[in-house]
Symmetry: C2
């Protein structure tokens, strides 16, 4: 990185009143607070937040195989194996042979899984509302838009983004 770039960058900081690194602190704080509310909301779910996220992804994004699911959530494949085991044991999802590839397994939600997801979604939505209590409606919507836009940009810039690309265009 050229020193001249650094100088330029430091000079036009888009985050007035921010100490470098503050963005991470704020994001971390929000995520921590969210995590707490979230975990509380999905307490019944095996594997807590990640259990919910896996189930939700399976239902709403219909990933072709475990890898796609893992890539979408940033979960390592070896980790995914035992997380999914828990969901299977709880009867929320099933591993069925993928139609197109006999190596792969497709994860599908059971009726029970769909039921639980529906119940959990109401609670999660409420938790998100609670988190956003500090902002008014206009600000919340603004934040949602910006966060969504930025995460897509980040997502696109990530090297490991490929496996979920197909999935991410559904929406």
């Amino acid at each position: 990185m050229a020193p001249s770039e650094l100088a330029a960058v430091t000079f036009e900081k888009p985050l007035p009143g921010f100490i470098p690194g503050d963005l991470a602190w704020h994001l971390g704080m929000i995520l921590r607070g969210h995590q707490t509310l979230f975990a509380d909301a999905v307490a019944e779910m095996p594997c807590s937040v990640r259990g919910y996220q896996m189930l939700s992804t399976v239902v709403h994004h219909d990933p072709a195989n475990q890898q796609a699911l893992g890539a979408h959530l940033g979960i390592d494949r070896t980790v995914l194996t035992y997380l999914l085991d828990d969901l299977v044991t709880a009867g929320l999802v099933e591993r069925i042979p993928a139609p197109t590839d006999r190596r792969a397994r497709k994860i599908v939600a059971t009726a029970q899984g769909l039921d639980l997801l529906k119940k959990m979604e109401a609670r999660v939505a409420a938790a998100e509302q609670t988190l956003l209590t500090g902002l008014d409606a206009r600000e919340s919507a603004q934040l949602a838009g910006l966060v969504s836009k930025l995460s897509m940009a980040v997502h696109g810039a990530q090297p490991g983004a490929n496996p979920c690309e197909a999935m991410d265009h559904l929406g």
Copy 2:
């Protein structure tokens, strides 16, 4: 994003087109992307991102003791002990007896720590810029404002907020 959409959205769901839990996904994605850039930027720093955050907090917020530092960063006190050990070993900070309380230790940066921090801050600022590449200047500033406001609200709602309150009013 059209402002008209925003208004329509306000009354129940503040997050149009969001599946419940998407907020966490987006935040997680951003934080993960940020973490990668951040870790890369502060590679020289012991304890990586948290090392930077501890040093930055010590310098910019001057916490009265380790507890305050830990609370600010959401780090358990037993964990803080060995993280700080690393920074001390690296000669970046010192534990000095707190003037007001002989039980407590005040963490102060060494000259070397200040030097390194200064260097790291330039890189961290650049990393934040890079992260925000997907947004234009106005959006970045908007996001920074919203994130800051929300994190403060979350922070205030947290039970463990007390120890850092004094610090957080400094700016």
